[in-house]
Amino acid sequence: MSNMDSKLRLIQQSFNSRYSEWVREALDELSDNFTITDPSISGHPLVFASRSLLKMLSYSREEVIGQNGNIFQGPKTNRRTVMEIREAIREERGIQVNLVNYRKDGTPFWMLFHMSPVFGKEDGRVIHFVAVQVPITRRQRGNGGVRLSEEASGLNEIMFGSCRKEVDTNSVLELGRVLSSDSSSNVLDIEETCEASDFEKRRAANVFNSILTVLTHYSESTGRLVCGKRCSVPGVGYISSSLNISLGRIKQSFVLIDPHLPGLPIVYASDAFLKLTGYDRHEILGLNFAVLNGADTNTSSEYQIQEIIQNEQACTVRIVCYRKDKSSFWNSLHLSPVRNASGKIAYFVGVQMEEECKNMDRHGLSPEMRQLSTVGAVKVAVRSLSMAAGSSKS
């Protein structure tokens, strides 16, 4: 199965495993613009886009499903706003910002972007992010892209006046462009800043609630309810949305082992690992790495792995591993402790290197380099977790 096929299959499952059959039709009955994304699939792709949105942006469904939401962004999209959206995803909370999006033909326009997570009721995990887009029709001067709830939004000193005074005449003419749109500008020109009205903000919130109602209703029949607010604390071994997204960028075969849980279970497995071993994600999560052992696996290697974890050292072991179909391969497994922001070990990463595949990859990187780059990328991703707050004044 090609990569694209398996990704589409995951996208289908994203909905099918959670909601009953007619959910897409029900969502299509809503005449609003919105997208639904799944952070647990590599690339954080769109799993649903409403008919209205597709029409507004002039895309077909096939062009959009499976892509990341940033395909709608372009040069004039404020980078700080994009970063704020990313932070909201990291913190698994909602956000409402003004954002410049682009249609398929490249024309930009302002819209109010209202995003909110949808949680699993029982396990507290983020199932999807729902993003409502309301085009902003009234043009008002605002502070372009600043989060509307930002308390400093009142401080909107625009320095044009003082800047123009002291500068020579040539520059004044240039700066004049800042305030008014250039008369020779083409249709791609757009205001620097824009702010949604209260009406538009309320509209976005209402649309979200309608969507949530539909999703909740259709999750009842599968018994895997969703809700708009987190009702339960996710259990140990929970991989947050942002960690999922960061790890999804790494295209090598690797797993994360939680050394604090009994049995040293695998709590994350990359797509490449699943492809290498032939297992499905749900078959692997929660099991010990020994699941890959078989007839010829040296039993001492199981103890070796345990010992490495106990010693909290990085190490490489050569072991025979077995796929789901019982075929075997020599695995040069590199294990390394991975620490989070507290400085303590959060996980162990195990990166597989199939010894038969000794060729350079398409970039000319050796397999050993790829293996180490995986370790580095995982370390960077996990380092952002569990950052404590506070200045202790005891």
Partner: protein, 375 residues
């Protein structure tokens, strides 16, 4: 215990060269082979605009990102760092700014310049003795005429290259020095070319955590160098509200001042041409140096955003690092780390900051220089 095989085919003939020559030329590298990463001609083309380059954060780790991370991790495994920086604790300081602080006990014990009761870190000199520690040079960056970027595992260092050297007392994972060499000489001052190369590097790495820093105050190493590392979180300054005072021109240069932040800061972005933005920033910086205004640069968001932190003109040899300007503070002492407050950090930053009057002058300077380039 590690049995990772790395490319063993680095062969070099050692020659006796005084390390003093390090200050002025790259000839010391002749005769040694290192991995060379060649930027494609597309990356460095005159008119490459952002419309061409992806605004999209890659769905996949880029090749340069993989090269840097793998080389760094390789040196980690071989024990070339003084300590494992990921064991240090990071926390958010309570308050509106959400400043970050790190308890890094490892740095101070090995520091050559012992602080005289100072709690926060001073600068670390770039000390690279290639004869004793060639392994500290991870690889070199160079340009090429080819259509695609590529990695050559082992080759002579080209005349014009950027050396990527590990910082053995890192501030975060992946901490390296980037030292541009041009015609075998190190740069004595910051210019458009070095800023442009740094921004290209950040864009090619295409990793949201990767940030580059430049401090104009470098007491121990006069040649130009940048620093870079993978910061797990964006720096507090990146979230502060902004006010645009220059923009809308043909070349898409935007300049904003950061509002409600204790140190005077400007942020530069472009919707079009990276090269032009780099040229504008470098001219602004050389004017600042003429007027003795100390400054720091930070390149974030994969090269799309450049911050300029403005410090007081100072006769005394005091300055703070770029990451401190951004709101990330290091402590060597557990007690100090626990006691830090936002107010103390606000005071620290404002004490170094350029004052309001001079800040206005700098903004006007930026407007006039940017409008020259923005045609």
């Amino acid at each position: 215990m590690v049995s990772v095989k790395w490319l063993e085919d680095k062969n070099f003939r050692t020659k006796s060269r005084k390390s003093k020559q390090l200050e002025h030329s790259c000839l010391f590298l002749q005769g040694m082979d290192f991995p060379i990463y060649n930027f494609s001609s597309q990356s460095l083309e005159e008119n490459t605009s952002f419309e061409g380059m992806s605004c999209i954060t890659g769905e996949e780790q880029s090749m340069l990102d993989a090269v840097l991370l793998s080389q760094w991790e390789d040196r980690m495994l071989k024990g070339y760092f003084k300590y494992d920086v990921t064991t240090s604790e990071i926390k958010v300081i309570t308050g509106k700014m959400k400043f970050l602080s790190q308890l890094n006990e490892g740095q101070i014990t090995d520091h050559q310049f012992k602080s005289e009761g100072k709690k926060l870190h001073e600068f670390y000199p770039l000390v690279f003795d290639c004869m004793k520690h060639p392994e500290e040079l991870l690889f070199c960056l160079a340009s090429s005429k080819k259509a695609k970027s590529e990695l050559t595992p082992s080759a002579d260092v080209p005349d014009s290259a950027v050396l990527v050297i590990i910082n053995v007392t890192p501030v975060e994972y992946g901490h390296v020095y980037l030292v541009p060499c041009f015609s075998n000489k190190l740069y004595p001052f910051l210019d458009a070319r070095s800023i442009e190369i740094s921004t290209r590097l950040a864009a090619e790495i295409n990793n949201q955590s990767f940030r580059m820093f430049y401090d104009c105050y470098r007491p121990n190493f006069s040649a130009v160098y940048f620093e870079a590392c993978y910061l797990p979180h964006p720096l507090p300054v990146e979230f502060r509200p902004v006010s645009t005072f220059f923009g809308g021109g043909r070349r898409g240069i935007h300049i904003c001042s950061i509002i409600d932040y204790p140190i005077k800061t400007l942020s530069f972005t472009t919707t079009h041409n990276l090269k032009i933005l780099a040229a504008a920033i470098s001219e602004i910086c050389s004017h600042l140096e003429e007027k003795n205004v100390q400054y720091n640069l930070m390149i974030s968001d994969s090269g799309k955003r450049v911050f300029l932190f403005l410090q007081k003109t100072c006769a005394a040899s005091r300055a703070i690092s770029a990451w401190e300007c951004g709101g990330y503070f290091l402590y060597a002492d557990r007690y100090e780390f626990d006691q830090v407050t936002e107010d103390a950090m606000l005071n620290r930053l404002s004490s170094f900051s350029l004052d309001d009057c001079d800040f206005e002058a700098v903004k006007q300077l930026c407007c006039s220089i940017a409008s020259k380039f923005d045609v």
